[in-house]
């Protein structure tokens, strides 16, 4: 069995600190703006705590994930794709996970997994892009330039420290777009490196670390360039030295990379990871596809929680998983489901009080064939911001009052 080697070395630790200590957009400083000087006075977040957000893109079919097998209406609406009771992992006498979710069932039974029922928002959009943007900005039916994670980082860390937010993806998510932070975005850590010949190394550094641009586009490019210069070494080293005995499943959509950074003591407070490419958009013949998606997702998340515990950080990490909407209650004629509204969200981790939260939406009292949401998704965000990360004024980030749930 491979052995995890804790990364040592004074030089490395110094590098990490130096990376964190520097501020990317220092010149454009948030500290001077009125909004942020107020925010700066707010109490600091709980040190050491980490939030991991997992986005399941495409609109997960919540009813075939947390299956209400105790409700006949479920089988009436889904005569062909409804999952029979003998093919389920029962959580209680009403709800069950679908059969492929062994890992998440274990987490639930250990009391480390909270299901929040009926999560959605008012006047729901059935468009992937619009609804995902609403979730990412926490601003349904409104335009908003920055993401909720980006705004959270700006509020909690007005100085804009490097690597405060990490986004595992090929492209920066709207959720992490921020005024005062340049999130560290990467996909393949091994490729997060500038290759150059030995002779080129000093000019390459010089041209990457630049001053002010002549316009916004240049300014942005220079900011990204400086961020890349500082971060590449750190990420690459963290990944190269990361060893784990844990099996992360067949689709490793990013949590293993999060674990590697946590193992390397990255200063990151918020990680944003997506199961990408609209994977959960199951319009046709969804049974096998959806089962497979949850095999991968459940295997991967359970592995991550196990790995975090192995690293001794179980008490510091909370993961939340969501999808931009649920799907319609009634199955369609192609043995799939069309875009719907509310769905379950998950909050997972050792600090979590496991169980079920939120009112269960009715399967019969529908609005145009869709579930009526019972819990605004921003309550989960408020839970993460306030009760987990310890920031006292979630309303300033979420632009409205949302009661946190007593999950953590």
């Amino acid at each position: 069995m491979a052995i995890f080697s804790r990364i040592g070395g004074v030089a490395r630790r110094d590098l990490l600190r130096a990376g964190f200590g520097s501020v990317i957009l220092g010149a454009t400083g948030l500290g001077r703006s009125p909004f942020f000087s107020q925010a700066a006075a707010a109490p600091a977040a709980k040190p050491g705590r980490i939030l991991v957000v997992v986005e399941l893109s495409g609109g997960n079919d919540g009813l075939n994930t947390v299956v209400p097998y105790g409700d006949d209406a479920y089988y009436r609406a889904r005569p062909r794709i409804g999952i029979k009771p003998d093919k389920l992992r029962k959580l209680d006498d009403h709800f069950a996970f679908q059969n492929t979710m062994a890992g998440m069932e274990r987490l639930y039974k250990d009391g480390h997994l909270a299901i929040v029922h009926g999560v959605g928002y008012d006047q729901p959009s059935f468009s992937h892009f619009a609804s995902m943007a609403y979730w990412q900005t926490a601003a349904p039916n409104r335009g908003e330039l920055y993401g909720w994670v980006g705004r959270m980082a700006d509020a909690m860390d007005p100085e804009g420290h490097n690597n405060y937010v990490v986004n595992i993806d090929t492209q920066q998510s709207l959720a992490v777009r921020s005024r005062g932070h340049v999130p560290l975005v990467f996909d393949d850590p091994a490729k997060f490196v500038r290759s150059g010949f030995a002779d080129e190394s000093s000019p390459l550094k010089l041209l990457a670390a630049r001053g002010r641009g002549a316009n916004e586009a240049q300014e942005f490019m220079y900011g990204v360039s400086r961020s890349a210069l500082q971060a590449e070494q750190l990420v690459r080293d963290a990944w190269a030295q990361y060893r784990t005995p844990v099996d992360y499943g067949l689709v490793r959509f990013g949590l293993e990379r999060v674990a590697a950074l946590i193992a390397a003591d990255f200063p990151t407070k918020i990680y944003y990871v997506a199961y990408r490419n609209n994977a959960f958009d199951t319009h046709v013949y969804q049974g096998d596809v959806h089962a497979r998606l949850w095999t991968y997702t459940s295997d991967h998340i359970a592995a991550f929680m196990k790995d975090v515990a192995r690293l001794g950080r179980a008490d510091d990490v909370v993961l939340m998983a969501f999808s931009e909407f649920g799907r319609r209650v009634q199955e369609n004629t192609s043995q799939g489901t069309d875009h719907g509204t509310a769905g379950p969200a998950f909050v997972i981790g050792a600090p979590v009080k496991g169980g079920q939260y939120g009112k269960v939406p009715s399967l019969t009292e529908l609005r145009q064939g869709n579930l009526v949401y019972t819990t605004d998704f921003r309550r989960i965000y408020a839970t993460a911001i306030n009760r987990w990360m310890g920031y006292e004024d979630p309303a300033s980030i979420l632009k409205g009052e949302f009661d946190p749930l007593p999950i953590v």
Binding site: V182, V193, S227, Y285, H339
Partner: protein, 609 residues
């Protein structure tokens, strides 16, 4: 030829202008659609035009445009029909399709169910008895998945090569725009032929009439499959297609209601792909009256599209999107209204709108200069074109590069296409762009392996075990990288439980299918890019290392680097040459110049145009 002396003049003029004034027009020109005049026209303006309306060019190409009037230069790019382009080759298909693959099932499960029910699927019969009776069907299923995937990569390679080689760069730039607009991906369509057909349409109608393009794309088999139109039937409408048509292809959100979507979906019922044709199935079409955008009638799908095209919002949405693609991110509401009017007044002909944009003062104003972040495909194509290469290289591999940079042709991430602008750049992607430049300038041929022959670690492991004599069941069990420690159920993740059924084995099927596909697919030529920087630099009249750096900067950048970086580049090149005298170093200057070009192409400035 006289192109060298042209170029010398251009260099001098260029240097002279740099001293006298900034390369762009004044900031006050922003939002001004007044056409520029001959006296405004310059090398820098011509460079801006070819950069945006094409993929940039060599100094020689820019000089040729600069020698025309602005109207002639714009017409040369927009009305490209008369420009000879016969050297382009058509796509050379491998011939991997056969009629048994018609109506390919949506999933492996559907394929094996069909086989269980009828004794045959995908043109392959079930074994009468014995072990794994359905295996041939599963093999066949995976064969086509792999074959159409690889053939689509070849098609993308052909297209990118065409972008590099074409004399009609705007045709390609518009085809790329439409591909992102009517985003359709092979991963879902699973038939390269339908993708090829759609691509031909995007080329043919690149600068033509948007109405014709919209209707033909909407009725094309690729789009019908991609948006599940075939599942949209009378009595049980599937709204995917109707929604995306309005949200993404025409009006944008906020101009219609959910009710309009439901009604439109009814009008599209019965539209179905019929291999490479499409038809309306009368039995599945809902021909009762519908009320759509305030009008009631017995509308069919084309009626719906025509009503959508009558909306002011549609013309404004399309022209604003074109503006963001060609000019800059921020468009004022007034500009959006004026451009929308141009498109509508020209009955949705795209070319007149492009003429207006490319001739406008706005297009050459300061906020439009050097502020556009190149998309990955543009970066790749313009890199080759600016270096003077006539063909796309086979090393580095286009698919690998474009996947790393975030834009795989013929496989957009979602139906929304690719997010433009800042979304193209992250710290990691900036590094990847520099690495691409190095791979072009210094292709690592010794370490190159064809990515199309790489089936992934899982299938490779199965292959190795089969070759070592293991039986199929034993060879196809997957263990975690750490050798255990999985989920509930011993050492297997749930994925293993699903992989091996009684009548067939999916992992073995993946292996067999992959092998058959790579046996039939024609290879992608693996040559390095051909260009000669020494010749280019010497031909420009450069005498010193400083001249060479200035020439390379002018050739590659639209946003100049600052004095400190310029000085560092000159010092670097002098050190590499062992002298500041280019003549003295002429016999060995190629590698030092390529190193210098790599540095220039690693700058943040190189990402902008």
């Amino acid at each position: 030829m006289d192109s060298h002396s042209d170029l010398k003049n251009v260099s001098l003029v260029h240097g002279f202008r740099n001293v006298l004034r900034s390369p762009s027009g004044p900031a006050a020109w922003a939002d001004d659609l007044t056409p520029i005049t001959v006296s405004d026209w310059s090398y820098d303006f011509a460079a801006q035009l070819i950069e945006r309306a094409g993929f940039g060019g060599t100094p020689e190409e820019i000089a040729r445009l600069a020698a025309m009037t602005p109207e002639r230069a714009v017409a040369h790019l927009v009305d490209y029909g008369s420009v000879p382009n016969d050297h382009l080759e058509p796509f050379d298909a491998s011939g991997v399709w056969d009629p048994g693959l018609r109506d390919f099932p949506p999933s492996r499960v559907a394929a094996t169910r069909r086989a269980e029910r009828t004794g045959e699927a995908l043109g392959v019969r079930v074994k009468p008895e014995g072990e794994r009776r359905l295996q041939p069907v599963v093999d066949r299923f995976f064969y086509w998945l792999r074959a159409t995937l690889l053939e689509t990569r070849r098609l993308a390679n052909w297209w990118a090569d065409r972008m590099v080689a074409t004399a009609h760069p705007l045709e390609e730039k518009m085809a790329l725009f439409w591909h992102g607009h009517f985003a359709t991906g092979e991963e879902k369509v699973r038939d390269y032929r339908k993708m090829e057909q759609q691509l031909a349409l995007l080329h043919a109608r690149a600068t033509g009439n948007f109405r014709d393009l919209l209707i033909e794309v909407a009725r094309g088999p690729a789009m019908l499959v991609y948006l599940d139109a075939a599942e949209n039937v009378k009595g049980a409408p599937n709204e995917n297609f109707a929604r995306e048509v309005m949200e993404l292809f025409t009006m944008g959100v906020g101009n219609y209601s959910e009710q309009d979507i439901r009604e439109a979906a009814r009008a599209f019922t019965g539209w179905i792909d019929d291999d490479l044709a499409s038809k309306v199935d009368p039995a599945k079409h809902d021909d009762a009256p519908k009320t759509f955008l305030g009008r009631t009638g017995n509308f069919d799908g084309v009626d719906i599209l025509r009503i959508i095209l009558e909306q002011k919002a549609t013309a404004e949405f399309i022209s604003a999107k074109l503006y963001r693609y060609f000019v800059r991110e921020d468009i004022s509401p007034a500009m959006q209204a004026r451009l929308g009017a141009v498109l509508r007044d020209n009955d949705y002909e795209i070319a007149p709108l492009l003429h207006t944009m490319f001739l406008s003062r706005d297009f050459y104003s300061e906020p439009s200069f050097g502020t556009r972040i190149k998309g990955p495909v543009e970066l790749v194509v313009s890199t080759y074109r600016k270096l003077g290469a006539k063909r796309l290289a086979g090393i580095p591999d286009l698919y690998v590069v474009s996947r790393e940079l975030g834009q795989v042709l013929l496989n957009p991430p979602t139906v929304a296409g690719w997010a433009q602008g800042r979304a193209w750049i992250t710290p990691g992607l900036l590094l990847a762009r520099g690495n691409f430049a190095r791979d072009v300038l210094f292709p690592d041929i010794l370490n190159f392996t064809d990515p199309n022959f790489n089936p992934g670690a899982e299938i490779k492991r199965v292959n190795d075990r089969i070759l070592a004599g293991m039986d199929i069941r034993e060879a196809t069990v997957e263990r975690g990288p750490g050798g255990g420690g999985g989920m509930e159920g011993g050492d297997m993740t749930m994925a293993n439980v699903i992989a091996s059924a009684e009548d067939f084995n999916t992992r073995y099927g993946s292996l067999v299918g992959f092998q058959e596909a790579v046996r039939k697919i024609k290879p992608i030529p693996r040559a390095a890019a051909q260009f000669d920087l020494s010749l280019a630099v010497v031909s420009s009249g450069a005498k010193t290392a400083a001249d060479a750096v200035d020439h390379l900067s002018m050739r590659l950048l639209r946003v100049p680097v600052d004095a400190e970086v310029r000085a560092a580049l000159i010092a670097f090149l002098e050190k590499q040459l062992g002298t500041g005298d280019l003549d003295r170093a002429a016999s060995y200057s190629e590698r030092p110049l390529r190193l210098t070009a790599h540095l220039i192409m690693s700058t943040p400035e190189f990402q902008l145009c």
